[in-house]
């Protein structure tokens, strides 16, 4: 694949006390401070209505923050600038391709607006078409494209103007699952190769984990946690983060002499913090054992997923534990099983 020479240096983006209150008085975003390093890919993740899209639109210049909020690009205040003066590339969930132009027309539009020479525009368009491997589509009209092709055109169009940052608003949500996986990989490779500062909004935690250098988990207009995907998965800061990302088991009990004691058994936990009454752990930190189990329970449901089986194990009063096993056998409803929990996976909040 050819290397794209992009002259623009990646920029850092800083949000200072950016809040957003809409005209009807609803608070979409509580005052937010965020620093995104040059060339970094940051994913804003959260359920709908958490303020992630509002944050992106404030960075883009499509929304103005409430008075007092500031957006800085490489330290320079861009708050008063509207989107057309910020030179950011934007990719929309609905693609926002212009139906009155061909694929090439769409990709070249930003350069046409900048009054570049025709030869320069067609050279850049060809470069972009090659980069996204859609050369054959150049003269197609937009309504002749499939969803995945549209998204490639949208990316090419946003990148053609050599933006200072790339902003992506749920770019894969409108696509089906398989296509989403392959395009996600492509976007990941593209962002790494270009080294562009990118902000990516999604409600899909798999997408966030795969793409983000850092993830900003948001809830009700507030930041719940900022961190690398591994930190967020393994050391969630709040119960919301723990349960929004991946599957989390919850167990009530108490700490007694380096063990977490519950009604269903006790889990050895060297150096257990005192006073903990609830622990969280991931399904992959539990294994089925035949002898000396930490916890005993009965199978409430079993789903065969092909490479593994997902079990819901009933262990008394609390909700069933989710356990994943690679065991090559069937599980019966009501079957007694023994569980062993890896203490290093225990999280106390």
């Amino acid at each position: 694949m050819r290397v794209i020479s992009d002259g623009a240096q990646p920029i850092s983006i800083t949000l200072q006390r950016c809040a957003k209150t809409f005209a009807d008085g609803t608070r979409a975003l509580e005052p937010l401070d965020l620093r995104i390093g040059a060339g970094e890919t940051v994913v804003l993740l959260g359920p709908s209505g958490c303020g992630k899209t509002t944050t992106l639109r404030i960075i883009a210049g499509l929304e103005a923050p409430d008075a007092g909020g500031k957006v800085l690009f490489d330290g320079a205040d861009v708050t008063p600038l509207t989107i057309e003066r910020r030179n950011v590339g934007m990719v929309f969930q609905s693609y926002a391709l212009f139906p009155n132009m061909s694929v090439a027309g769409n990709i070249g539009y930003g350069l046409k607006v900048r009054k570049r020479a025709k030869s320069q525009i067609s050279r850049r368009v060809a470069e972009m078409l090659a980069m996204m491997r859609i050369e054959a589509l150049a003269d197609r009209s937009i309504d002749q494209l499939s969803g995945g092709q549209r998204q490639r055109v949208a990316l090419a169009r946003a990148l053609a103007v050599q933006p200072r940052a790339l902003l992506l608003d749920e770019p894969l949500t409108a696509l089906d699952a398989k296509l989403r996986d392959s395009l996600r990989l492509e976007i990941d490779q593209l962002l790494r190769r270009l080294g562009i500062t990118a902000i990516y909004v999604t409600h899909d935690q798999t997408e966030a984990m795969a793409l983000g250098d850092r993830i900003v988990v948001m809830e009700h207009g507030r930041v719940a946690q900022i961190g690398r995907p591994r930190d967020i998965y393994q050391r969630p800061a709040t119960r919301f983060v723990a349960e929004f990302i991946g599957t989390m088991n919850r167990l009530n009990g108490s700490v007694r002499r380096d063990a977490f004691v519950t009604a269903a058994g006790s889990i050895p936990w060297p150096g257990a913090p005192q006073g903990v009454t609830e622990v969280l752990f991931r399904p992959e930190d539990v294994s089925l054992v035949a002898e000396a189990p930490h916890l005993s329970g009965t199978v409430a449901a079993a789903f065969f997923l092909g490479d593994r089986t997902r079990l819901f194990v009933h262990i008394g009063d609390s909700r069933p534990l989710v356990v994943e096993t690679g065991a090559r056998r069937d599980f019966r409803h009501g079957e007694a099983v023994g569980l062993k929990v890896d203490a290093s996976g225990l999280v106390a909040l």
Binding site: A60, L62, T82, I83, E84, R85, N87, V88, G89, M90, F92, S94, A96, L97, F98, P99, N100, Y109, G110, V113, R114, D143, Q144, S146, G147, G148, Q149, R157, A158, V161, L167, L175, L179
Partner: protein, 268 residues
Amino acid sequence: MRKRGPLFFAELTFTLMVCAFLVVPVILSLLAGLTANYQVGINSGLTLRWVGEVWVGYRDTIFLSIGIALACLASTLVLGIPTAYVLARRRSALARAIEELLVMPVAVPGLATALALIISYGAVPGLRTSWVFILIGHVLFTLPFMVRSVLAVLLAIDLKTLEEGAASLGADFRQRFFQIVMPNCRSGVLAGSLMVVTLSVGEFNMTWLLHTPLTKTLPVGLADAYASLRLEIASAYTLVFFLMIVPLLLAIQELSRPRPTAFRSQEE
């Protein structure tokens, strides 16, 4: 091929009868305009004499009608497209109320609107006797058709996101409006334009009250002709009217036909 039952032929007969009921009078009228002597009948021979007399006696009304229709089109384009754009961008309760109010000039009888215009502006010097007075009435009557036609198209596309996309690429408002908004509502503008011209050319109710002997439009002249001249001349006049209006109606039909559905393939 599927066998056609008796019901099919019953339906066909009924449809043809309805068509005949509608079409036969039109054909008779057109024939009358081309017949040498209607009393004698078609045996008296066909002639263009009456069409010629219409041309001599009424061509001013034809030109005035075309002139008013074009001026009306220009006015509704200038007023209607920005109105539709604003209504499409602001989906507030007020915008929706205005959209509903736009139906008013269509719902209110033309005579009432004309009377209201005469009462309100009839005393403005020079206006009452000017063709502009008729133009004002026509614009009032046809503007809603332009706005609705353009608005329907603007609401069907995701206008806000398209504009945001263009803005993100550096396009200012003027560029967005002329390079993105206008080209994408072209079908609505075209349909609205044909509608406006057709309605303006054919408008009678309002124009009949608003006109003066010096500002007669084609339909008003037509009423005159039927009231006071030989049936052949009036019929020939109708023929001329048809020649003007039918191509417009056919074009509207063609435009309002649903587009062939866009090709959508499943990816790769």
